[in-house]
């Protein structure tokens, strides 16, 4: 029906959908601009987002193009193995709910660093946690930009560098105008489009098999190169037990350390809304991954593995090709535009989290000792957004053709090692000290980066070396316990009575909210202990 060159290329219809979404995003940003006058509105949407809205936005933040295109592609090529990733991405959410979301909402202001620094000495903790945040954000951002450029190049025929510039410029203007309010609404629109699009493809696919998923799986396995093997675990993703556990740790605890996800909890008015939003996000993301499983097997059965790898080696085009097979160019155009919307929204969320670390943590609370006037804070926030937007474009172009998988792995590993241990200990352990926090964050970040550098993912896939000094694809099994250990040892070696005294205040604020303790500011600006 289609000649090979046109496979996966939506043509004019796709370009129209693509520009419609750009116009909608800018329109939303323009509307949000009138509501973005303070830093609280810029970073936290003025705490005006409801639990349901934030649930969709969290799901939107999390369902990146990597999940949609990447996991559907993995399933299409390797079957069951793709499920390992999607389940790993889901199981982190209850951890966020049980341990992090509510305390974070009540204790912080704009960033998770607010929580870590709450009882501790501001300057050292903010510098360390700011570095931890920026590491995660930059690596995640590069992965998204490189993926975005390649995808848009492939689907719309727009040159890679031009595509990266378009994404960067649209995203930056959207943030400058509407900050968190615009980002949230673009996330919500995108989440609805993505879930709706995936649902339509899934149901359409199943209807070809009498709505019986088992018939689909059986038919797909019959056409797969590996045959029935695709229904069970292979050796594509998990090679040995330590590798499996290490990847599992990074996926499970990485989510609870992703700055752009954590930041979303400040957009809701209270802990009940925070709780409701994680619950909804967990349900939506679970459904989404169940659907990608159907999509992957659907592509395996209806498109065929040979065709998928002919169009793109890594299998990323499996879902769009399935859409084209089912609904022709119009449906493909819609799905391609949804994939673009996905990238745009995720990149915006990441950039905003990075900008908050730069301006709120590093400028306002470190350089200016927490005393910067509102106007200055907002101006610095916008300058930080421009810097990060430019960095995203520059790095996206510079890293063209890089293996993005290792950067996503790195982002999750650093999040699980640098951010998560410090965050948990600061909330739940009274004896946690400034020295402990700084040690934990830096040890986690450095060990994760060094081990990834030494891993086969980097040495073999990126540098092309024969052998890697460190055998595991993911460092979390070593770097995460190391971060906990470092934090505990350094805390026990030092004593910080002020931090212990303030644990009680933190505890009260975590449970009862800041409203009951009117006297202290939420983020104590300059403590007496600070020089």
């Amino acid at each position: 029906m289609y000649i090979a060159q046109d496979l996966g290329k939506p043509g004019a219809v796709g370009i129209v959908f693509f520009f419609v979404f750009v116009v909608v995003a800018i329109g939303v940003a323009y509307w949000a601009a009138r509501r973005t006058r303070t830093t609280e509105q810029f970073y936290a949407a003025g705490h005006s987002i409801t639990g349901v809205q934030n649930g969709f936005a969290l799901a939107g933040d999390y369902m990146s193009a990597a999940s949609f295109l990447g996991i559907a592609g993995l399933v299409a090529l390797f079957g069951f193995d793709g499920l390992i990733y999607s389940i790993g991405f889901l199981v982190g959410w209850p951890i966020v709910l049980f341990l992090i979301a509510e305390p974070l909402r009540n204790l912080g202001k704009y960033t998770f660093t607010d929580v870590v620094a709450f009882r501790l000495r501001q300057r050292p903790v903010r510098i360390a946690a700011g570095i931890g945040t920026l590491c995660v954000v930059i690596f995640y951002l590069i992965a998204q930009m490189v993926g975005a450029g390649a995808l848009i190049d492939l689907m719309f025929g727009i040159d890679y560098s031009v595509a990266v510039v378009i994404v960067g410029v649209v995203m930056t203007s959207m943030l400058l105008l509407g900050g968190m309010i615009a980002t949230t609404w673009v996330q919500i629109i995108k989440a609805v489009l993505l879930l709706g699009g995936a649902l339509v493809i899934a149901v359409w696919t199943l209807s070809e098999f009498g709505l019986n998923p088992l018939d689909l799986f059986d038919d797909a396995a019959g056409r797969a190169e590996a045959g029935e093997e695709v229904l069970g675990p292979g050796d594509q993703i998990v090679k040995n037990a330590p590798d499996a556990i290490s990847l599992g740790l990074a996926l499970m605890f990485g989510t609870a350390g992703l700055p752009h996800i954590l930041m979303r909890f400040y957009t809701v008015p209270d802990t009940a809304a925070a709780r409701a939003s994680v619950t909804l996000a967990t349900i939506l993301i679970g459904f989404f991954y169940l659907m990608t499983f159907i999509l992957g097997f659907g592509a395996m059965a209806l498109v065929g593995q040979g065709t998928i790898t002919d169009v793109e080696e890594a299998g990323n085009m499996a879902a769009p090709l399935l859409a084209q097979e089912l609904g022709g160019d119009v449906f493909l155009g819609f799905i391609a535009a949804v994939a673009f919307a996905t990238i745009l929204a995720v990149v915006a969320g990441l950039t905003l989290a990075g900008a908050a670390a730069l301006s709120h943590d590093l400028w306002t609370n470190t350089v200016r000792g927490g005393e910067a006037p509102e106007r200055e804070q907002l101006r610095v926030a916008r300058i930080a957004t421009i810097i990060l937007g430019a960095a995203a474009i520059g790095l996206g172009i510079a890293m063209k053709g890089q293996n993005v998988a290792f950067m996503v792995g790195l982002a999750f590993a650093i999040a699980a090692s640098a951010n998560f241990p410090a965050l948990v200990m600061s909330i739940y352990w009274r004896r946690f000290t400034t020295a402990g926090a700084v040690t934990s964050i830096l040890l986690g970040a450095i060990s994760a980066v060094v081990l990834i550098y030494l891993s086969p993912t980097f040495q073999e896939d990126v540098l092309g070396n024969e052998d890697a000094p460190f055998g595991l694809g993911n460092p979390a099994i070593i770097s995460m316990p190391l971060a906990f250990l470092g934090g505990i040892v350094a805390s026990l070696l030092t004593r910080e009575t002020d931090a212990e005294r303030k644990f009680l205040e933190a505890e009260r604020q975590i449970h009862l909210g800041a409203a009951v303790t009117p006297a202290p500011e939420r983020t104590p600006a300059a403590l007496p202990a600070e020089r």
């Binding site: 390992i84 209850p94 229904l231 675990p233 998990v238 499996a244 005294r501 009260r508 006297a519």
Partner: protein, 113 residues
């Protein structure tokens, strides 16, 4: 430990950490609430760890049994995978139910004083 904590938070402290008297009267109840919340969170986190790492370890060590087909088009691995997703939803619902029924009313009561 409890003694140490109540002295640490005594109203005589001043500065940003100062606390008002009304709130201090609820201290033991607040501590109890905090312990309960931590316990529920820790237990459910442990359940999630067991379920997920059980799945991961089966993939690592018992590939053969996950490969087995129950019927055409359905392997044990897929059944267990879907079970992990359902279990994730289940623990989430258990927590939210506890939080809405037990935790939240207690918080509201303490807030009202």
């Amino acid at each position: 430990m409890a003694d140490e904590r109540s002295t640490a938070g005594s109203p005589s402290t001043d500065g940003p950490g100062a606390v008002s008297r009304e709130i201090l009267e609820h201290e033991p109840e607040l501590e109890e609430l905090m312990r309960r919340r931590f316990k529920v969170g820790a237990v459910l986190t442990a359940v999630m760890l067991v379920v997920y790492f059980g799945f991961i370890l089966m993939i690592a060590f018992a590939k053969g049994s996950l490969d087995k087909l129950l019927t055409d088009g359905l392997s044990w691995g897929m059944v267990i995978g879907v079970f992990v997703i359902l279990a994730t939803w289940a623990v989430t619902f258990i927590y939210v139910r506890w939080a809405n029924r037990d935790y939240e009313p207690e918080v509201q009561r303490l807030r009202r004083g």
